[in-house]
Symmetry: C2
Subunit: 120 residues, 2 copies
């Protein structure tokens, strides 16, 4: 990244970072980069992600040219989702974020159990 | 990133990607990594970002330990915002996203003017 005044704001960067960081997209992309191609397999990797939300996000990622939806030609009908070259190129971003998270986000955040509601 | 089943979902990664990708955060961080430390200087780098929204985001980033707000001890009072070590460590993420955007987000997206509404 250059520090010159006229190069700081980049609409393409802006669009990219908010697309990747949009709710659920980052974890969906990580599951797909790890090889998940079936709807149920992707959903299983992401706690709290509903079918509806996953379907919506996959459609958006398809519209962005990041994901391709394939339907098998012969029965039984099988739908799979794979990353395009554009999608696979996000591996470097996912790795950079993973490294930053490993270094800077405390593990406690993932280990703290939900507190049960107090009953009087 | 490992592809083993039990390693795909990482709450720390999840938190990191959505924090960085939250609306405006990516562009604010890029402006700060490029050396902007004054409120007005940061805002100037981001078209359409309001004072209110920038103030809110800076507070959130401060709460996350990514930004430090400093007020000069002597008059005139000057407020500056700088990145912590945790914040500066995001350079690698911003660079990875910038490279992906350069490769995959068409420049047309930033150059296409709004179409004037057709008048009959």
């Amino acid at each position: 990244m250059k520090a010159e005044d006229d190069e700081i704001f980049c609409p393409r960067y802006h669009r990219a970072i908010e697309l990747i960081g949009k709710r659920w997209n980052g974890v969906i992309l990580r599951a797909m980069l790890a090889g998940r191609t079936r709807f149920s397999a992707i959903r299983q990797e992401v706690p709290s992600l509903s079918d509806t939300m996953l379907a919506e996000r996959l459609k958006e990622l398809e519209a962005e040219g990041i994901v391709v939806r394939k339907v098998s030609s012969a029965p039984p009908v099988r739908v799979s989702y794979t990353l395009t070259e554009k999608g696979r190129a996000l591996q470097a971003v996912v790795e950079a974020v993973s490294e930053w998270a490993d270094d800077w986000i405390p593990p406690a955040a993932e280990q703290r159990p939900r507190e049960p509601s107090a009953s009087l």
